[in-house]
Structures are given as C-alpha cells and as structure tokens.
Symmetry: C2
Subunit: 710 residues, 2 copies
C-alpha cells in the first residue's frame, strides 16, 4: 500500500511537471523531483526531518524553504520538529555562539554546514545566517552534490549586498527591459502580491540583504507618509528573508514636500527636517536600511546648488541616521557638460579631494567603470584613490548597453574583470599588488568599517522576471559574487545552469561555454577594442555617426573620436591625461599604445588606421575582424543552443532560440553600422575573407531612424 501511494505520488509529480511548461517564474529555486532514484534515496536518508528551535519569522522561512524544497526534490514529505531530541538522520537548524554554531565564523551572517552525530547541522550566529545556510544546503541537492559529509564554512565578504531598482512611481523602470516595476504602488499597502515574497526568497538564496526600491532619479513621493506606508508594507514581506529596504531620495525634498525655502544641507531647518523624516521612517520601518542618493548629476539637484559639497550633503543625511542602524549610499556618478573636459575624469575630480571628509555612515557608491556601464570599461580610478572612504561598487545587471532583453550576455566576466583588476592602491607588488578592486571594496585593503556592493536590477513584472531567460543568470551571478567575489564565472554559471536549465553534464558544459564566451562575442560586434557609447537615445540601436545632442558628452563622436588619421580617445598625457588618475603601475599597463592590451586600446589611445597591432593586423583590419567574427559567433551560439534542445524545457528552449535569432540579426546590424561608418574615415576595403555589408550606410541609418521615431 505504501509502495502504491509512493508510485502514485511519483507519477503525479512527473505528470504534473510535464503538464506545465516552464515559464521561468521559479528562477533557480526549482525543486523538481531528482530523477536518479538512488541519489534521491541517499539524500532522503540524511533528510528525514528538519529540526528548528525558536520560531522567528526568519527561522520559519528557513524551515519552510527546506521543507518545500525537499518535498519537491525528494518527492517525500519531511516533518519540521521543534527539537531533534535523540533522532538522527535529519537536518538541524541552529542559532547561537555555542560550539555547534561554529566558532570559526567571522560574521553574523555567515553559516556553517557540518555533519555531527549523524545529523546535518546548519548553524550561524544569526537567524539570517541559518536561512542562508538552508539555501546553501538546498543548492547542494539541486546541483546533485553529496551531503553526507558536509563541512562548509561561509562568511559574506561584503556587509551590504544590494539591488538597486530604478523603478518609477508610474510603474515604468528606467533602463528596464523585463516589464514594469515589481512594486504595485497603486495597490500597496493593502494588497500584497505573492510575488514580493518570491522576490525575497530569490534574493535571500543568494545572500542579497538590501533593496533600494526606487529610481535614483528619485520621486519625492517616496518620502511622503503615503508612500512610506507602501514601502513599509514591502519591508514587512522582506524582513523574514533578511532583506532591508532603502529608498533613493530627491535631494530638494525639504522644499518640495516639506515646505521649506531651501534644501541647503547646512541649513538647520533642513537638517531638522531630515532628522524628523528619518525618525518617521524608523517608526514605520524599524530595520530601514538607509538612503541612496544621486545628486548634482545629469540634472538632478544636489548640495552644489547651494555651494556645498557632496560631503556636506551626505553628512547631513548621516547625521539624521545617527540614532539608527542605517547608512547613506552617495553616488559618485557625476560629470559636467563641458566639451573640453574628459568625462572619464569627472568622478575623481569631484570626489578625490573629499576623501576623509565623509561621515562614517557614508559609503560612496562608484560605478565599476569611469563612464557608464559600457560593455567593457577599465575600472574606475576612484578604487585606487579613496583610502579613507568606504567605496561601494555599482554594477548594472539590466542590459542597458548590452542588447536589452534580446541579447545573451552573461555578465559575471564583466564583474570579475573589474573586481580582479589590480588598483595598486598600496604600490607595487609581483606579480600583482593584491590590492584588487574587490579587496578595496571588501575593505581588506583600506580597512573600511562598512562595505557594500550594489547591482542595478534587471528584474521586472515579466513572468520570468528578467525578460531573457538567460538574464536570470546575471542576477544570480551578481548575488553570488556579493557574498563571495572569489567565485569563478564558470563555477557560478555551471551552478546556475544545473539549478535552472538542465542537470545533464554535457548540456551544462555546452551552455556554460556559450555563456562564458557571450560577453566577448558581444564586445566584438558591438564595441571592440575599447570603443564605447555609440548608442541611440534609448540605447538600443547603433549610432556611431551621432554628433548632435543637448550635451557634447552625449554624442557618439565624443567617445570614439574617429577621424581621417585614426580612432580612439587619447587619454595619455598628450591627450586628456585621464590615465594619470590611476596609480603608476596601472598607468604602465595602459599608457603605451605598443603594449596596451588590445581590449583597452581605444579607451586610451588615438590609433592610426594603418598601425600594425600585436595580432599582425592593422587597426582597421583588426577592427573588421572583430566585428565580423563577433557577429558570426552569434551564429555559433545558435548552434550550441540547438544542440541542447533535448536537455532543456521546450518553452525555454524556444524562447532563447527566438532571442538568439534576433541577436544575430542585430549583431550584423551593429557590425554593418560600425564598419560602414568607420570606413568613411579609414578609406580601406573590408579585408578578406569578410564580405562587405549587403547594405549601404544610409540604409543602416534608415533602420536606426525607425527606432528614433516617437
């Protein structure tokens, strides 16, 4: 009888999972029955119960997740007990500082998973750490790793691990390509979408512990009582999952909603307004995270409107937060509309001299590169130059410059390339100084008291969260790296694939290969060798010819500087001398055009078309080679994907295949736009074996113009 029911149940699960196409909603938290019965049984022997003492919402969330996960993966109900007693063969969730709870843990949020007395013990100093451990344990099963002799100790390397949502109150998302905002402002606080909890689960599974709910181009609405009530309702859902909410502030809020005559950060009434507002917030949201600020940037107001500095503004907010456990994240993304200036240098010019003047509750949040989330940028010079100021790194997950939701670009290599860059902040070293961007950010170089990483979210209301099914991997990778930036791009990719797409080893390898190459492929057809920013107004289509704009630094020609001699932005001392913002060892890598690595060449040098490069090709020929092979490589990705057809869900397969087809078309579009445009300066033929584009530059422009129509 028992057997019959078990068979029935398995059949049920199999049929159920088959009758529903996978719409991607579950992300990597898929708990489908493990196919290998032996493996299932082995896991089941070690997971006969879940024991948890205490019933905080976070511990309950951990136990619930394990129970649901094990039920799905093993096809059997696992009881949750309040005490293991003498029982063995189960999972014990344990909080505290005792021996079981892992004396080796460095942080409150770290966790250990160990085998003790025939039980698996998940322990931490905090409830949140236990939750992270529970997800880590589930990940072991989802990736088919053994769990019978686990000995894992894991601490997060960074304290504030955050998503930034550039979401507007009207429901749109600035640079969002996966639908509207997840936050239904007109329904909140009365209606709580079940999706909010699933969002929190997904983040907690990665260790993300903060969410800035609104756009950095902020609406003052979010500081009104009306909207704070809505934010508080979200905070209530997120809290059990260890996630704190933050809001982006509109700097002149004291004027706009406070009725004051000024927003001068040194004005006592303004300071009082912020202190009162902060008090109001903490009454509603006792674990409120703090403020994110974009000020005096791209038209947003800020302290400079009152002849005050960024530090004056940030420190005023820090003062308001003083009674509470909250922080200020002040963005360094600033630049002036000066045609003579090099935008590359703006952030350090404005922030460098402020080092040491920020309150200890302030983190300066720095985009990974000096410009703006380009497909490849050198790391921001700030990371080597602000020893007295905690610096957060800001990555962009949403694919503003990476083909929206139709191009497959796995971003972990972008993040890693920056994180692993050596800033030489502490001088020389061999073969490297060890002062990587990652180690600046995690505080190990300068001993920052607080540390943070932020990712501009790629989530939206699309059923699968991220539009492109493969873009889920970027959310995943960012989250995993906020916890541990030493993980490799490949390891993260393989883990994500196994949890999300397929458990077949060959297919995993093939998909991982495609993902790992995807960024370089994109760079090749889009902006090879250090080109940047040739985008249309909406950042969708190629427009290297664009030379008109309200601001000179919002044209394409400002960046690539193509002329009859050559191509690229001279940032050596003969040019803007932006290179001087880096430490000497870094300068040495990049300031000689003969030895500068080709991926960075045009970031720093204006190179003649006929110049022979290390590849043996002239600049022109090398550029063409990259544009053509880049576009062709999308065809290769299509072939790779076709080969995993039998190994992934059919709906997901079709969706990715369709998007790859679009990507291929658009890659050729980018290639044609660039080579036809640059050819007007280079005056060289397309080198063999490549064939010249089938269309004219005018035809390419006409197609681009379509996307510029209102």
């Amino acid at each position: 009888m028992i057997l019959t029911i078990r068979v029935l149940f398995s059949l049920l699960l199999l049929l159920t999972s088959r009758s529903y196409a996978d719409d991607g909603y579950r992300l990597w938290l898929k708990y489908d029955l493990i196919k290998d019965a032996a493996k299932r049984d082995a896991y089941a022997r070690s997971a006969q119960f879940i024991a948890v003492t205490g019933n905080s919402p976070t511990l309950k969330a951990a136990a619930d997740e394990l129970q649901v996960g094990l039920q799905g993966l093993l096809g059997k109900a696992v009881p949750v007990l309040t005490n293991a007693g003498n029982r063995t063969g189960g999972i014990i969730l344990s909080v505290g500082n005792g021996p079981v709870a892992g004396a080796q843990l460095r942080t409150q949020e770290g966790y250990q998973i160990t085998s003790r007395s025939n039980n698996i013990v998940v322990s931490s100093k905090s409830d949140a750490g236990v939750l992270y451990g529970a997800f880590a344990l589930l990940r072991q099963l989802q990736t088919l790793q053994p769990i019978n002799a686990l000995s894992l100790t894991s601490d997060p390397k960074v304290r504030y691990r955050m998503l930034n949502h550039w979401d507007n109150p009207n429901g749109t998302i600035e640079r969002g390509y996966a639908g509207e905002t997840l936050w239904k402002w007109y329904e909140l606080p009365e209606r709580i979408s079940p999706r909010y909890r699933d969002y929190a689960r997904a983040n907690a599974s990665l260790g993300i512990n903060g969410t800035v709910v609104n756009n950095v181009n902020a609406s003052a609405r979010f500081l009104t009582a009306e909207y704070l009530g809505k934010v508080a309702a979200l905070a209530n859902v997120f809290r059990p999952y260890g996630i704190r909410v933050y809001v982006s502030i509109y700097f002149p809020a004291p004027k706009v909603i406070g009725g004051l005559k000024t927003a001068d950060p040194l004005d006592p009434e303004v300071r009082k307004w912020w202190a009162d507002k902060t008090k109001e917030i903490y009454k509603l949201i006792p674990d409120f995270g703090g403020f994110l600020v974009k000020a005096n940037s791209e038209g947003e107001p800020g302290p400079q409107d009152y002849n005050r500095t960024h530090a004056d503004g940030a420190n005023m907010l820090a003062e308001a937060l003083k009674p509470y456990d909250g922080i200020v994240l002040w963005r360094s993304f600033v630049y002036k509309a000066d045609p003579k200036a090099d935008r590359f240098k703006a952030a350090l010019e404005e922030f460098g001299h402020l080092d040491g003047t920020f309150d200890k509750k302030v983190i300066v949040q720095v985009k990974n590169g000096p410009i703006d989330f380009q497909p490849r940028e050198p790391f921001s010079p700030l990371f080597g130059k602000m020893p007295k100021t905690p610096l957060a790194i800001e990555f962009q997950l949403t694919q503003e410059y990476l083909g929206f939701a139709t191009h497959l670009v796995y971003e972990a290599p972008i993040f890693k390339e920056c994180l692993d860059s050596d800033t030489y902040a502490k001088g020389q070293g061999a073969p490297s100084s060890g002062a990587t961007v990652a180690k600046v950010v995690d505080g190990s170089v300068d001993g920052y008291p607080i540390t943070a990483m932020a990712g501009v979210a790629n989530t939206g209301s699309d059923r699968n969260w991220t539009g492109h099914p493969m873009a889920q991997a970027n959310w995943y990778a960012f989250g995993r790296l906020t916890w541990d930036h030493t993980l490799s791009s490949e390891a993260i990719a393989r883990e994500w694939i196994a949890m999300t797409l397929t458990k077949e080893p060959q297919a995993i390898t093939r998909i991982a290969d495609m993902m790992l190459k995807s960024r370089e492929i994109y760079v090749n057809y889009n902006t090879p060798m250090g080109l940047s920013r040739p985008w249309t107004g909406v950042h969708f289509a190629p427009e290297p010819w664009q030379n008109k704009s309200p601001r000179p630094d919002w044209t394409a020609v400002y960046y690539h500087r193509a002329d009859s001699v050559g191509l690229g932005f001279d940032r050596t001392e003969k040019g803007s001398n932006a290179l001087a913002q880096y430490n000497p060892e870094v300068q040495k890598q990049w300031n000689n055009p003969e030895t500068c690595p080709l991926p960075y060449l045009l970031w720093f040098h204006h190179v003649p078309w006929t110049k022979k490069l290390s590849t043996g090709r002239t600049l022109w020929d090398e550029l063409c080679t990259r544009f053509y092979t880049g576009a062709d490589s999308v065809g290769w990705m299509q072939q790779q994907w076709a080969q995993v057809k039998g190994s992934v869900d059919p709906e997901t397969y079709a969706e990715v295949a369709g998007r790859l087809e679009t990507q291929h078309k658009e890659a050729i579009w980018w290639r044609d736009a660039w080579v036809l445009y640059l050819q007007e300066y280079a005056r060289k033929p397309i080198p063999a074996p490549f064939k010249k584009p089938e269309r004219t530059l005018d035809e390419v422009k006409q197609l681009v113009d379509v996307y510029l129509l209102r």
Copy 2:
C-alpha cells in the same frame, strides 16, 4: 484496470488543480474538472469524439480547443476524428451551406449548435463560425447547462468587433493599469510569446474579430517595414482565431517616414504614398483589417493642417484600401481649446455636416459619450444625427476614470445604458422609438453597410491580464455585447462568474449582485448626478479644485461650474444649448431641471444648492447623501466578498479583498475631496446622519499633491 487508471487520473487532476494557486492567467477559459460526477458522465456520453472534416488552421483551433476543454472538464481524453462515419454520441464540426450547416444563419460568422442523429452538430458557413460555435458549446459545459438537446442559432449583430490597444512602442500603455504592452516589439518577429495565442483564444471565445495593435496617439514606426514585419508576426498568430490586425496611423507619416514635403490628403504624391504603403501591408498581411485614425485631436496632426476635412483624410485612406478588404475607422473624438465653447458639442459640430461625404469604406468611430469615458455620460448626440455614415461605438474597458486597477467597477451596465438609449433618430414612438444607440450602431436604423464596435482594451502584461481580477469581466462583457448587444448585464455577469470564479449558485448570486451595483456605487462616491472630470493629471486622484491647465477644457472647474449659487453645467438654451444637438424627444427628457432624471441633472443644468429635488432633499443634501452612501457601499462590497471566501480560489479571494480595501480608502478620499470643496460654495453643513470628514480640505489636497509629484 481501466477503472484504476481513471481513478488515478481523476486524483491526479484534483491534486494538480489544488497544488497550483489560481493566478488568473486562464481567464474564463478554465477547464477544471467538473465536480459533479453524474453531470460529467452525462456530458461525456454526448462528447465521445470530435469529428472535423477539413484541416484549416481555424478548424484545427476549434477542434484543439474542444479537445483540451473536454479533457479538462470531463477528465477524459476525447479523440479527434476526420470523419464521424456512422458513429454517434459525439461532436461534429461542420462548415458549409448544406442543411446541417444551418440555412437560418444570416451571417458568415454565425453558428448553429443542434442535436442531430444523436450527435451534436456545430455548423456555420465559415471556419470562424465553427470556432465561435465550439467556444459556445464549451461555455454550455463550463456553466453546467445541458447539452443533450441543444438548438442554438447565433449571429453576430455587428460585423467588426474590435479591441483598441493604446500601446506604445516603448512598452507602455496609455491609460493601461495592468502592466506593459502584451506585444514585445523588441522580440518580434523572431520570438513569438505563447501569450499571443492565449490572447487570441480569449478574444475568439467572445467573438472579437479585430485588434488595433497600437495607440491612437500613433507612432509612425508602425508603418515602417521593420514594424510591419512585427505586426505581421502577430497577425500570423491571430489568423487561425479569426482575428484581423489593424494599425493606428500617424497622419503625417508620408512626411515623417516617406520623405514627402506634405501630408495633404488631396496631394497626388501623398495619395500614391498611402496606396503604395497599403499594397506593401497587404503583401505581408493578406487579411489586414485597416486603419484607425486620431487626427486633429489633442495635438495630433490631421487633414485640417492642410485646410482639408476629416472626410478628405478618411477618403484618401479608403481609396488606398479600395483593392482590399480593409476599412478606415476615423475617430470623432475632437475638440478645440476654446474657453467659450462647450466641448460637449465639438464632435457633432465638426462631423455633422460631413454626413454623407465619407467613402463607403469609412466608419466614424464615436466614443459612447460626448466628453471622455466618464463614469456616467449621456450618449453622444452623433448617434442620432449621422444617418448616412456608419458609426462605430467606442467604449473604454481600461478604467481610466474608473479607479484604475484598484476599483471594482463592472462596466456592462455602462455599455448597456448607452446602447439601450433611445436616439429618436427616426422621430417619436411609444413608449420608445426603437432607434436605440445599439440599433444605430448595428445598422438596423439606418441600414449602414458596415458596422463596428470598439473597446479600448484593459489588458496588459500582468499575469492575470487586467490587473484587477474582476476587470476580466469587463473584457468579457464587452466581447459578448459586440456579438449580441441584447444580452443583459446580469446574464453576462453570471456566465462570467461561473466560468471564472465559482460554480456555487449562492456565491454566483452574491458576486453578481455586487458587480451589478458596483458602477452605481462608484458613480455615487466619484461623480454623482452628472458631475464629471475632476481628476488630477494622471486621472487618478480627486481634484475638483483644479483650475489651471494648458487648456481651459482640461480643468475641473470647466466641467462642474460650482459657484455660490449652485452646481452643474447649463446646457439648455440659456446655457451652451448643447441639448439642441439631440432629437426633440431626447431634449424633452433632459431639458427641464424639474423632470430631468437625477443621474443626468448636472450634465445639463446649473442647479441651486437649495433646490428641492424629487427625492425630497435639497441638491446639497442629495449630493452628500450620494457621496456618503457611495463610500459606505464599498464597505458593503467588502462584506459581500467576505461571504464568498470559501467559494473562490484563495489567491483570487485575497487579491480582490486587498483591492476592495484600497477602494474603500479611496472612495472616502473622493467623498471628502468633493464635499469639503463644494462646501466652500454651498456653505451648508453635512446633513445628518453623516459625519463631517475627519480631515480638512487642505489635508485632502496634500494627499492629492503626493500623486502629482514626478
């Protein structure tokens, strides 16, 4: 053994349907197992097979839908045969003009469902008609009606039954409150979302046969080859479901994308451009439906820019469409920014004298009321005054002025109230002339050769399509009324509830009661007795005090005309004399303030605050009574809903309950805004038993201001 498998299968279905919360995606096309086994068996005896001769995509869609539907409803697989042979006890789908196919049908799209020789025969003159019949048959089962002796004959009363999507190329929807556009323009044409087909199924199930894919404030993108390719990909998905695509055009397209110097509709080059463009479209989309046009309206360009008439513009497009089976829908929604004028009169003033001058391929599309989709409007005077011009009626399903996606307003009573209004287009009659708006629109009054109804869609990318789960009923009701405007609001509501929410008779009655009263409740707290348009810029919050705007007719005071004497817009001959636009019998109903029905009173009269009304109360007291009882009635709706908790899906229950809570809060907000504002003119106390609002007018305004912040 057979029994065992059947038991297993039933259990499987039961468990499956239980393990998934209902997220609303399936709309009313829910084919969950019928709980009553006897009923199931009875149905099963009459549905042992589906026989269909011919394999057109539309017939295949009909057979597929029946097969999937029966499988779900009956829990048994039903085979599809190409020929019934001598078999009985099945369903036969039949196209043709033979005796079985129903000689009584008046139209190509009509269907018959009859019992013949122990089979159920679904017949029509067209494949699409068979599809409509298949959905009608499924509806019988979904609403638990007997099917063993069916004799249904059904013809659509209107030929073009259309949804208008005000969707923009950037993904937003003008006046959309259910997420982003359904059409993924950046993915099309390569990737075809499975959702497109489900959209088509839902529409086909109602008889909707046309979709205008883009906003009437149109982007010229939709006439470029790039976007026509995308539209064609949608058309390919919709075609098997009998749905034709239409596009909204940007009138100056010949200039903007054609490179011409003018868009003058009488210019030969312009006419040639449109003819060529139309040819290009029909090459891609052989069953293209035609063009929808908003011209010389709210800043949109049009023929008047060249001193031509609307007829000149429309007839030019009709000429371009001449070789094809396509039509022009030209909107009459026009009004000038003239503070002296009455916007009410604008449409007839501009279009009345053009009656008889439009090409026979042109339909003039008229909003139901003279202003703009207000919660209650009198019918547009055009419906009684354009005998020589086919008039389409345009309703708005999306709740622009009906509380967005948080207020429960069942719109069928709005549609019916207008459709059943007597225009007296043919003069007197007793008790009515019979020339209702519906009969004008369906052509029976004036013998229009082509007829149409259009609904501005309330669909979006939200999982449940319409944001508010109950708003699905508005899509449903509109669709059913396009097919048959004689259906009652109640019959439609009961049908929809049974298909969508619950089959329990008591719960159906309770929910239907709530739905049927919801519109009057909304009117009462929002704009009672003929008030209109006191909305903020985004049409969300109350703003009766609003008196500044770029246009005088975009202020609130323009509409309500509150002063120390009284309230309301005098449209009698002492005032704007808009009433003179109606036929004399209609004028008689409304032009005397003593006898004008209260729901229309302030539409036509400026009434003193102290005026005693037919209810025995003064105007002021009557207004207060309606505002207060309206807001209180939302509390009643909450109670009604609470009582059906056990009868509907828990997730749906919670979602509606949350939204009702918001609605209650906002209803009180509207009430307070109005009574506090009007009180400044009326200078009367709030009559007992009502208590004066707990907040001041300034406090109400401050809350409104929050929603006006960027």
